[in-house]
């Protein structure tokens, strides 16, 4: 059996976009954060732009590659940080799939970005609460984290929407 692996145009596209997302992700991880769990999540910009330009499949690849490769590069693979990041990504992907595949919802970049940011935060928080710190004091952080998610989701959504307008 002779098999050659041929990289398609889509593969190249995924690789390029994932590389971009990873770069943003790593750059952002160097920023100081006021509270654990609050990050602008600017890598979200790439995921949402990919979703709007190339569809759900490509966006899913880019997101999962970003989480996996990003954690390998940062040395957090399979650590608690990775578990949080991974669960957030899975939650975001699930919500994005539902939003994308349900007909007639009519979301734009901002809508997807908001949904992804909130799902990411909620998924991550749930795992943090059940797996790592099942302390009621942590629950009090949740509204604050969700406020940040809405804010950053909106900001990156507007960035994507502006970007896409220039593309068209």
């Amino acid at each position: 059996m002779d098999r050659t692996l041929v990289a398609t145009v889509e593969d190249h596209r995924i690789a390029l976009l994932a590389a971009l997302a990873i770069t943003i992700h790593i750059a952002e991880s160097a920023l100081p954060t006021p509270l654990p769990g609050i990050k602008p999540g600017l890598a979200n910009i790439i995921t949402i732009a990919t979703l709007c330009l190339y569809g759900l499949r490509t966006a899913a690849w880019v997101l999962m590659l970003r989480v996996l490769a990003g954690s390998l590069l940062l040395g957090t693979f399979l650590s608690p940080t990775f578990a949080l990041s991974f669960s957030g990504a899975v939650a975001a992907l699930l919500v994005l799939s539902v939003a994308r595949l349900t007909p007639g919802l009519g979301f734009g970049a901002v809508g997807y970005s908001l949904l992804a940011a909130m799902a990411h935060m909620a998924g991550q928080f749930t795992v943090a609460y059940w797996l790592f710190i099942p302390h009621p004091a942590l629950l009090q952080l949740f509204p604050v984290l969700m406020t940040a998610a809405v804010l950053f989701g909106l900001v990156s959504g507007i960035i994507v929407a502006t970007m896409l307008k220039h593309f068209r």
């Binding site: 734009g108 901002v110 629950l139 009090q140 809405v150 507007i158 929407a161």
Partner: protein, 125 residues
């Protein structure tokens, strides 16, 4: 519509998300109580006017067998000294949460912390 950055659905989602936040604060901060805001001090069954926990001060309360000294600091309150024998009131340390209560029974001095909503209705010990 095409020139707008946000679609109509985006706007609706944004409003729903923003509206969700006060509800989140209400349910996660309200029900799990959180920090106390005021302390109600009772001396021999009489209740003194409530005292804010946000102003640091030291209070001396004349109880039924002598003075009890209370310290308010860092949004909490504790007994510093009391003329009782067991000194359990002092050992119980800082009290910060709404619904918490501490007392020096021999001196008949009790304090109850209240907040926006108490975390517990009462305590078993």
């Amino acid at each position: 519509m095409r020139s707008s950055l946000l679609t109509r659905s985006d706007w609706l989602l944004l409003i729903a998300s923003v509206a969700l936040l006060p509800w989140l604060y209400g349910s996660f901060w309200g029900s799990t109580g959180g920090m106390g805001e005021e302390v109600h001090i009772m001396v021999d069954g009489r209740e003194l006017p409530p005292i804010s926990l946000s102003k640091d001060q030291t209070l001396t309360i004349q109880g039924s067998i002598g003075p009890s000294v209370l310290e308010v600091a860092n949004h909490g309150i504790r007994f510093i000294s009391s003329p009782c024998q067991g000194k359990q009131c002092i050992h119980s340390g800082w009290h910060t949460h709404a619904g918490e209560f501490a007392a020096c029974l021999p001196n008949r001095v009790a304090l109850l912390i209240t907040g926006r909503e108490s975390r517990y209705d009462t305590f078993n010990y």
